[in-house]
């Protein structure tokens, strides 16, 4: 994971990336590199700066320090960067009064996807939700809403998918379905950053894992170096005592 250790062209690379809010430091000095098909699982306690980092990578938040490139676009990015990103958070980002299909179709149109209606239906089919396409989102269960949300965020075939605690509020079968879908995305070459509290689910998908605390990456390693059995202990050590 340490930059330079691998050849190739990183899809996400940052150097000393940081963000202050007024005087408060939310993220500081984050340096990482991810290639096509990589998935970074990002762990850390609340307020560690995970969401802030994700929003910077998504082009939703302007970095105050350092530099970064995502999908070939220099941060803070612009229209071109946003076109390459799929952003999923624990909030569904859907309009409850509109149907699943309408929500996804709107995004498809805003991203300039060809034949947006068909693209929306295909995205729903991938999430096994084609039969609920015309149902208002408010009538769907939380798990289904989350699947619609993922279909929405990936309808334009983004190179990079950023996920902010997507497992929140999902039951076991929902989590399993989400995990399977993310694995498929990764296999198709999508680069992902996955922020989560669920260490097992996160590690199952990850090619890299990192722990964030107080705005900084305190541990960062490649997947083959991670032992899922002991990682929870490692995590606890870092979160309680690490610096």
């Amino acid at each position: 994971m340490s930059d330079g250790s691998r050849a190739g062209n990183p899809v996400i690379s940052t150097r000393g990336l940081g963000r202050r809010f007024g005087g408060r430091v939310a993220v500081s000095d984050v340096t990482l590199a991810l290639e096509e098909g990589d998935c970074l699982a990002l762990f850390g306690p609340n307020g560690a700066g995970k969401t802030t980092l994700l929003r910077m990578l998504a082009g939703l938040l302007r970095p105050t320090n350092g530099t970064g490139t995502v999908a070939g676009v220099e941060l803070p990015g612009g229209l071109e960067l946003r076109a390459a990103i799929g952003y999923i958070s624990h909030a569904s980002m859907l309009y409850a009064a509109l149907s699943a299909r309408e929500n996804i179709e709107l995004t498809a149109r805003l991203f300039g996807v060809r034949d947006p209606r068909a693209a929306a239906m295909r995205a729903l089919e991938r999430m096994a939700l084609a039969d609920r396409a015309e149902m208002p989102v408010r009538q769907l269960s939380r798990g289904m809403q989350q699947r619609v949300s993922i279909a929405r965020a990936t309808v334009h075939g983004p190179r990079v998918v950023l996920l902010d605690e997507p497992f929140t509020g999902l039951d076991d079968s929902g989590s399993a379905a989400l995990g399977a879908h993310l694995a498929a995305l990764r296999a198709a070459g999508t680069t992902m950053v996955l922020v989560t509290h669920q260490i097992a689910e996160g590690l199952a998908l990850a090619t890299h894992a990192a722990i964030m605390r107080g705005g900084a990456l305190v541990r960062l390693e490649a997947g083959d170096a991670i032992d899922p059995a002991t990682y929870l202990t490692v995590y606890r050590e870092h979160v309680s005592y690490g610096a």
């Binding site: 809010f21 007024g22 005087g23 408060r24």
Partner: protein
């Protein structure tokens, strides 16, 4: 104008700079006292309005400085959106607060003067109405500031409102003015005669300078308070 006490634990470093004699504040108070003395003892009564007219030496400088204060809010707002420097936001915040105080002075002294001269406490005179709306706009500005936790967001939204508020002023003035001229009122005594006698003009100028010094002193104090608060928030990690 004393600075409120800050918990000693958090801002010992900051408290060092705020002790010390505020010479600007002292000078401005003296200047106001001198100006008032001149208003009361050395300026003649106005022939028609009598002693009531003397409140005008308080009223007009306060109004002019209030306008200036809101101009500073708008300029600091433009500057903040451009440069993102929180010092500009603190200047805007301080100037807005002092401006509201000055506007309040205008709104209190206006009716005090209007009662004996126009025979009514309140009148929808174009300038008084404008001042009332200024007061509403910038009280709204302060309410907005109080309703936002995030420091940078507060600065940004305040800048936007401060700029829009300054754009609004000419429109309010124009619509209120046209409204008045189309509904002429029976009593029309202009609060300011076209040309003042030199003695009165001198008094007015002195008073204006005194009020401007007072404005600067208050803004400076308020700015220091804002700096300390920002520092405190920083130390508390908010």
């Amino acid at each position: 104008m004393t600075t409120p006490s800050v918990p000693a634990t958090a801002t010992d470093a900051a408290s060092v700079q705020r002790t010390g004699f505020d010479w600007l504040f002292a000078i401005s108070v003296l200047a106001i006292a001198a100006a008032l003395a001149r208003v009361i003892y050395y300026t003649p009564f106005e022939a028609v309005q009598g002693p009531a007219q003397k409140i005008f030496y308080l009223h007009l400088p306060a109004a002019l400085d209030a306008f200036m204060a809101f101009g500073v809010v708008a300029l600091a707002g433009v500057g903040y959106l451009w440069l993102g420097d929180l010092r500009l936001d603190r200047a805007a915040e301080s100037s807005a607060e002092v401006g509201v105080v000055f506007t309040t002075v205008v709104l209190v002294t206006g009716p005090l003067w209007a009662r004996p001269v126009w025979g009514t406490w309140w009148t929808w005179d174009a300038r008084l109405t404008l001042t009332l709306f200024l007061w509403f706009i910038y009280v709204g500005y302060l309410v907005l500031r109080g309703a936002i936790e995030d420091r940078a967001l507060r600065a940004r939204y305040s800048a936007v409102l401060g700029i829009l508020g300054s754009l609004l002023i000419p429109f309010i003035h124009l619509s209120v003015y046209l409204f008045r001229t189309l509904h002429p009122r029976p009593i029309v005594i202009k609060p300011s005669a076209p040309s003042l006698p030199p003695e009165m003009l001198t008094t007015l100028s002195i008073s204006f300078v005194a009020f401007t010094l007072f404005y600067l002193a208050l803004v400076r104090q308020r700015y220091r308070l804002a700096s300390e608060r920002d520092l405190l928030e920083l130390e508390e990690g908010r």
